[in-house]
Symmetry: D2
Subunit: 272 residues, 4 copies
Amino acid sequence: MPKTLISGKNIYYEVYGEGEPLVLLNGIMMSTLSWKAFINAFSKNNKLILIDFIDQGQSDKSEKLYTHDLHVETIKGLLDYLHIKKVHLAGVSYGAAVAMKFALSHQNRLLTLSLANATSYTTYMLKDIGQSWINASKTYDGATFFKATIPTIYSVKFYEKNIEWLRNREKLFSQVFTKEWYDGFIRLVKSAESLNITDELYKIKVPTMIIGSEYDLVTPIDYQQEIYNGIENSRFTIIKDAGHASMYEKPHEFISIITGFISTYNEKLKIL
Amino acid sequence: MPKTLISGKNIYYEVYGEGEPLVLLNGIMMSTLSWKAFINAFSKNNKLILIDFIDQGQSDKSEKLYTHDLHVETIKGLLDYLHIKKVHLAGVSYGAAVAMKFALSHQNRLLTLSLANATSYTTYMLKDIGQSWINASKTYDGATFFKATIPTIYSVKFYEKNIEWLRNREKLFSQVFTKEWYDGFIRLVKSAESLNITDELYKIKVPTMIIGSEYDLVTPIDYQQEIYNGIENSRFTIIKDAGHASMYEKPHEFISIITGFISTYNEKLKIL
Amino acid sequence: MPKTLISGKNIYYEVYGEGEPLVLLNGIMMSTLSWKAFINAFSKNNKLILIDFIDQGQSDKSEKLYTHDLHVETIKGLLDYLHIKKVHLAGVSYGAAVAMKFALSHQNRLLTLSLANATSYTTYMLKDIGQSWINASKTYDGATFFKATIPTIYSVKFYEKNIEWLRNREKLFSQVFTKEWYDGFIRLVKSAESLNITDELYKIKVPTMIIGSEYDLVTPIDYQQEIYNGIENSRFTIIKDAGHASMYEKPHEFISIITGFISTYNEKLKIL
Amino acid sequence: MPKTLISGKNIYYEVYGEGEPLVLLNGIMMSTLSWKAFINAFSKNNKLILIDFIDQGQSDKSEKLYTHDLHVETIKGLLDYLHIKKVHLAGVSYGAAVAMKFALSHQNRLLTLSLANATSYTTYMLKDIGQSWINASKTYDGATFFKATIPTIYSVKFYEKNIEWLRNREKLFSQVFTKEWYDGFIRLVKSAESLNITDELYKIKVPTMIIGSEYDLVTPIDYQQEIYNGIENSRFTIIKDAGHASMYEKPHEFISIITGFISTYNEKLKIL
């Protein structure tokens, strides 16, 4: 699969299918690999583009600290390189913050915006949680990292039901995550610390779908309510019975809402 | 637009577009006319079929009382008449109850089931609310009927924001609803009194999307939770900031979830 | 039990026990009689005062329309007559609105304020619900009135569990409610139509406890959130698993919160 | 203040006031010191007893691992020593679990039970969160411990509003918590790992008040719903706008509910 050089960094991306382009932006611990089960669904009617942010997956690592803006420029660079004018942009958690920042600086490149389990503001609480993740990362120990990050990512019901799968994930962490990966993860966490765009959201005018989860402990529904209040005419749906990682817990609901939204966003629905 | 004779009654229906068939079932006060704004969205990738139940819109009136089963046979009759084998069946409130009953008796005719603002059981509370609606109907007075039925149908926010539109609706009620209409409405209310299929829901095996509304006072989310508990692997989404009449309050969310679901229902999403 | 003449009307009231005075204000359908089961609990450490508003219970009827202000003056008159300087004032629903209006005009007479299932604003929705109650009242028929008013007053669970008790209440309505009662009830409903004190709530400085119910359909928790936002340092608790008539559904929770609050309201709790 | 020897360990306790005895049980990070601001309110009408569990505050440390049962015996020993037959028992989080275990083995010693922010079952998620707390404890570093434990303990709103107080707490952690303290904390966390009494709750017959918090991320309201389902005729209230540490965030609501409950628990409230 291809990489391209953007601002001096090799950026890994994948492209599938044909149709109005849809770019999916990873959550902070994810990579293009995380979307494997979703590729078929999202590329059936759209040209699906997956991308590893700098410090994620197969893209280059960074030598210094940055903010979400670095990824905004990566996305813009990739769209230019692929000669794509306008896209549906969908992001999960960290990726949703990048998506909003992209909308604020390159709105003319967007058809729609889909924001899952998002916040427009890194609260002190999120900053401190981030610091606890950094502290765990610095042990470079998979089990320590897992215990510090994963329990609040899922709903209780999911956690209880899938404890064996989670235990296997924990082992996988120890095998897969290298010192390099942890150092990249730390930079990603730090890049989110200064996020504070709540007061700018009113500038976003593209059709926007906001997705929350009933049991999201990391970014509870109140966070998305702020985004909903900020973006005019935004749409707001909740996935029942799911935690922060809604795409993993409730993949069918996740793809239903997003594929339905990007195929109907320009319908005139004159009810009143 | 066409009618056809089913079990001795003229049934009014409408057909639009091409693709996997999608049948939309009306709520109790609705008719095919209520879907006007949605026709384009739902017929873009599907053959859309709208239908007036007996005692609704342009279909014949009934001479006697009945249950949801009458409509189940109407739907089956129409599908046979149109030589349609399998459909996506989506229903709103009363229509969702009919959809579930259809699933229990003719599951082989279904691709999927979408249930918006539904209950699987007419509680004593709903029975008594129904009786208050019947009492108001028997005045044959539009304003009295409006005040007895509409205030709990919408969310407070919607009601406050759209009070002028609601006042116009109230006037419309007085102009449009005839004695015949009210008598039909009374029979429709009575037809729901005996509904009690919660314990049978486990028999439904087709992919099912359940849609609730945050501020549904008539069938609060707890009612749909019962359905979710009953139907294996059902999906469950909530439309934020909407009351019972979610399709009117939040039409974009409504069509996003349903069109997305019926276009992705058979995706294998192996996450775990 | 005693009555006294206030502004030319006989006002019925009851007094029990000794201690800091506590005045309980009735909901719209209630009377002093409704508090029978609560008298012991509320008079153990307090001088409990019950009162029938004009058009309620054994107080005189009104000849003309009025607003909550009429009851405010009734309460003030009674306190003056009884030579009581300061009271704990607690109100349920309609009575909570009267309590807030009393606080706005006679704050120096209050020790604390307890507001259960309250709204500070009669929304269009509540106005229309009120009109449907008036319409049902004008039939002077107990069963019609019951069906129009009671189903949304309780939680579904309570309604299902206590349907026999509710059926007995329905019969009682037919026996007890006279034409005079219904005409008084209509005036009470109309008296609430103009309520709109949300923007004045900031003036209330007495310790205030706000009580909502999880399943309140008439005045959902969002209404009390407005009051909480308006009254500085107000306290806010929710009774789980109860509808609008929280004092009937969950009497133990109701008395725990109120008696606990009025016995500890002046504690300095310096935590931070 | 006094200590007494129970099963070979010095147990620190404090006694204030006169009346029906009330024993308050600490949360896992707390000690008798944490109740300082509450002493006046809780001792006004009751003999208030505070106690440091083994491995808390000024009580002895343990040399080995244990379960909640160790504290149950400590409580019983103290009550015997003080010649107290029956008490109101109230616990917060970890202390609420101890309280339930006490009720299961020494129910005859209880007047009432108050359970704030409780769980009856240590889920895998809670176990893993506990392990992350243990991992942070083993660094013996106050800032690391703070970041790993505190952010999910409070509501977002509280955290944002009181960030300076929290930063001071963080510094305090570094000054106050010794290696001995952390080792005790680790044993306390481990003592909760095997908790699983959901199926035994039905045996608890004393009047019980359950208190949850709207924004409790550690033990969300669903956990208390299980307890409510299990204990017959238990009462259930929610403190709005608070996180897991409800007693710190909303002290007035906390004391209102508990003092009101223990002063009215034996009221017969015959409504139906």
